[in-house]
């Protein structure tokens, strides 16, 4: 992901990623029906089973209702008024290629192989298609597959067939079903047995076109004793219309495997009045299938008009570990309903949840979580901490945890607090000659430290800067 230098220039403005790129694109007509799905599938030259898989999901979706339980409100979405496929015209067009490269360079995403210093392999997704993946050869030497999901369907159908939809089934929920029907691109990572992925794998998602929905599908599989650290970044241009991003991410960790998944989500969040911005309705779930496997989610959520996202872990393998570290920042009229689910199935499974919510402006910020200890989860252990910080008296912070315990040897702890920035801390710092804004920033960073320290280093620095920037207009 972005290096320190590129970022410091990028974060100077409030939403520097708000520009749009002018490239010739090919888009489908708005609307959704079986024909559109067949067309997407044909466009990607998919085998018959994949088309059928999509259609099955679509038929289920038709009978599903949009969930209403989240603590967010938005006008009804017209699913027929969305364009489900939009791609830059790449074929034999070096100019477009250059333009895209420039876009990603501007976003701080190193697209040239020469940027090896960055130490990451990148898959860049522009609207509905992946426009390039770096470091493929180096990874291939180790047997690691890192490519776009479309490519994986072509090149590694047996793997995709084996794992796709096994963690988030087609009919899991409304948005997951929609995604299963129309997903266009996303990343596929496969780490074979015993391999420790030497670089961080990263996908950068960019929405560019107007009225397009982005439906990413990411699938990460770690075989026995393998390890991978995966990073995801997201931005979109500032537009005054809402756009839908409905992603599905599936993680599978087999025996002794470890997946570390980090996100810095900075979709365009809308303007002061709440016009525009991305609706980020995402289903992310990990499955610790094998013994002693581990899945760790770290997320920094600073963008999106509405966030609806619960990265979860199903702890099936004995001795498996699930972690969730989250910072969710909302200001202006943003709404975030986010949290996690930890489902303890196997014995000696452990989970840790650390959630930090910061609300400012007129935003709503909710934590919603489930810790479920099933009867067979002997000696399961959970520790949850969710803290909310309020900046200003017009925002809202809610906490809705659910703890279900069906095993008498399990131990769970949950603690949550809501408060504003401590006046004493403020007084102490300002008495040392530091201005109020910097003092706030220091305190907020301290508040989020537990989460930031879980991020890969460069990412952590970026997250701190991003938060500072977002706070700039929220204080005072």
């Amino acid at each position: 992901m972005p290096t320190l230098e590129t970022n410091s220039t990028l974060v100077r403005d409030e939403y520097k990623y708000g520009f749009s790129t002018d490239v010739p694109t090919e888009s489908f007509e708005k609307g959704l029906n079986e024909e559109v799905i067949r067309a997407i599938s044909a466009k990607k030259n998919e085998p018959e089973w994949m088309t059928e898989w999509r259609l099955k999901a679509f038929r289920r979706w038709l009978n599903m209702k949009e969930p209403q339980w989240a603590d967010v409100s938005y006008p009804p979405i017209d699913y027929q008024d969305i364009c489900y496929f939009s791609a830059p015209k790449l074929e034999n067009n070096p100019e477009v290629d250059e333009e895209l490269k420039r876009t990603f360079e501007r976003l701080g995403v190193p697209m040239h192989e020469r940027d090896r210093l960055a130490g990451v392999a990148v898959d860049a997704v522009f609207d509905s298609v992946s426009v390039g993946t770096t470091h493929k050869e180096m990874l291939a030497e180790k047997g690691i597959i890192f490519c776009s999901i479309s490519e994986a369907i072509q090149e590694h159908p047996e793997l995709v067939k084996k794992y796709l939809g096994t963690v988030v089934p087609q009919g899991d929920n409304f948005f997951a079903a929609l995604n299963s029907a129309v997903f266009t691109d996303g990343s596929f990572c496969y780490i074979p047995k015993g391999v420790r992925c030497p670089v961080e794998l990263s996908t950068y998602f960019r929405i560019n076109a107007v009225d397009t929905g982005q439906f990413e599908r990411t699938l990460i599989v770690c075989e026995d004793d393998a390890y991978v650290s995966y990073i995801e970044g997201c931005t979109a241009p500032s537009r005054d219309r809402n756009q839908l991003h409905a992603a599905v991410v599936e993680l599978i960790a087999l025996e002794g495997a470890e997946i570390k998944y980090s996100t810095v989500q900075n979709w365009y969040a809308g303007d002061e009045e709440g016009r525009g911005g991305i609706y980020n309705f995402v289903t992310k779930r990990g499955h610790c299938r094998g013994r002693k496997s581990k899945i760790s989610w770290t997320q920094v959520e600073v963008g999106s008009a509405i966030t609806w996202k619960y990265p979860s872990v199903v702890l099936e393998g004995d001795d498996s570990v699930g972690e969730f570290y989250s910072v969710a920042f909302t200001n202006r009229k943003m709404q975030a309903d986010t949290g996690t689910k930890m489902v303890h199935v196997g014995r000696n499974t452990k989970s840790t949840i650390v959630s930090k919510g910061i609300s400012a402006g007129r935003s709503r910020n909710s934590y919603r979580g489930l810790v479920q200890i099933l009867p067979g989860a002997d000696n399961a252990r959970n520790h949850t901490q969710c803290d909310s910080m309020l900046i200003g008296d017009t925002c809202t912070a809610n906490t809705y945890p659910v703890i279900e315990c069906e095993n008498s040897t399990a131990i769970t702890e949950h603690e949550a607090t809501t408060s504003k920035i401590s006046e004493e801390q403020m007084f102490y710092i300002t008495s040392r000659g530091i201005d109020e804004e910097s003092a706030t920033s220091l305190i907020v960073n301290g508040f989020c430290k537990e989460v930031f320290k879980e991020l890969p280093m460069e990412f952590s620095v970026e997250a701190v800067k991003l938060l500072e920037l977002k706070l700039e207009h929220s204080v005072g």
Partner: protein, 434 residues
């Protein structure tokens, strides 16, 4: 399940127009008015279903609404057999399926305390009753069972504590229902006027194996600088179904100590809402629940902070054993402008054996900034280390467990300011540990 309940007429347990006319028969003034309003509301509200968040963990279909029949309005009867509790209170109300009786132990020594059946209260305290019946304490009006109670209550009492008076021993209301598919709908209104201090204790009992249902509602008003203690000891038999929706409103400098002990019943669904409504109001809510065998105890609490400088502290401790199941749902709600608020909510659970289940859903809903709200929740079994320690001192496994469970609950039991009651509860807990 819900289809059975929402059959064509929209009524169950025979709670239709006829039953309403029967209930309201001969009644006048504010009581009739409230019944009529509540009946309209009750009719327009749907029965809760498993799809309602609050009822997701307790299927309303498990309540045998069709099998019970509402007792006709209870009248006065001679005082039934005395209980060993009776002498410890100033006024004792005994309620059976036959009727109610009130015994006054005061010999004219305690003044300021008035205990009346609702119909009597209408004559003597009509204005106050109008203010306190379905008054501002009822924070959520769209509740089927609160409205059901207001429309169909068959036994009701009004307790009034006059300004600046202190009532040490207080009032005991004991319900002894023999079962036989009776539906009891008790209503209680307590008004502690400014500067007063009082204690109200309720005791619920029914024989094991007898089917019955109780749909209760209480309203408590604690005025400026008043202090009210409310103890509810629920020892229903294992055939009893209970729904209770209780509301309290605490005024400036006032304080409520609300202790709920849920030991009996087959299925119990309770709602306890408390509003600390004016500055410096203070609420202490405590709960003990113990579900064993096939018991199911579901309780929801609401700590509502509507004014600046208000305080609340909640501690609910529960244990589940055998195939017992418990649900605790709690919300701290701080509205706009509720600054300098300090609210705490703690739920601790013991899951004593495989097969038992406890759910905990603490919650915070905060719309103000300058405050401190927090909650905590724990689940687990007895500490193996503590067990080992006790056993190494010569205690048997059973004795050690018993001691630790009792110690776990002692924090709540100690909140009852009455040693005799404390012993009763300890004995109950002991019996349930088995």
């Amino acid at each position: 399940m819900t289809t059975i309940l929402e059959h064509e007429s929209g009524f169950w347990a025979g709670l239709n127009e006829d039953a309403f006319s029967g209930a309201a028969g001969g009644e006048e003034g504010v009581l009739r008015e409230r019944r009529t309003q509540a009946f309209q509301a009750y009719r327009s509200l749907p029965l809760p279903t498993l799809r309602d968040e609050e009822w997701r963990r307790t299927d309303p279909g498990l309540f045998p609404f069709e099998a019970v029949s509402r007792l006709a309005n209870l009248g006065e009867i001679p005082f039934p057999a005395a209980s060993d509790l009776d002498d410890r209170f100033d006024v004792v109300i005994a309620v059976t399926d036959e009727g109610y009786a009130i015994r006054d132990n005061r010999d004219g020594k305690v003044c300021g305390l008035t205990v009346l059946p609702l119909r009597e209260a209408l004559r003597q305290y009509g204005d106050d009753l109008a203010a306190c019946f379905d008054g501002p304490a009822v924070l959520e009006r769209d509740r089927k069972f609160t409205q059901l109670n207001s429309a169909f209550w068959n036994v009701g009492f009004y307790i009034h504590v006059a300004k600046n008076t202190a009532v040490e021993r207080g009032v005991l209301i004991r319900y002894e229902i023999t079962g036989r598919n009776a539906l009891v709908i008790p209503r209680l209104i307590v008004h502690a006027e400014a500067g007063s201090r009082a204690r109200v204790t309720e005791y619920y009992q029914s024989p094991d194996g007898q089917a019955m249902m109780c749909i209760g509602a209480r309203e408590m008003y604690v005025d400026q600088a008043a202090q009210l203690s409310l103890y509810a000891v629920q020892e229903w038999g294992n055939g009893a179904y209970q729904i209770a929706e209780d509301w309290a409103r605490v005024g400036r400098d006032g304080q409520i100590d609300w202790v709920t002990l849920s030991l009996g019943s087959k299925i119990s669904k309770m709602m306890m809402g408390c509003e600390v409504a004016e500055p410096n109001a203070n609420a202490f809510m405590s709960g003990l629940f113990f579900a064993n065998e096939k018991q199911h105890i579901d309780q929801r609490t609401l700590q509502k902070h509507a004014a600046p400088h208000t305080y609340s502290n909640l501690l609910y401790k529960g244990a589940v054993k055998d195939e017992g199941r418990s649900v605790y749902q709690g919300v701290i709600a701080a509205g706009k402008g509720a600054i300098k608020v300090d609210a705490y909510q703690m739920n601790k659970n013991l899951v004593l054996n495989p097969g038992a289940r406890a759910d905990s859903l603490p919650g915070l809903m905060i719309d103000a900034d300058d405050l401190k709200c927090s909650h905590g929740s724990t689940m687990g079994n007895l500490s193996p280390l503590e067990l080992f320690y006790l056993k190494s001192r010569g205690l048997s496994d059973v004795e050690a467990r018993r001691m630790l469970v009792l110690a776990f609950f002692e924090e709540i039991i100690a909140k009852l300011d009455d040693e005799f009651l404390q012993e009763r509860v300890r004995a109950d807990v002991n019996r349930k540990i088995g």
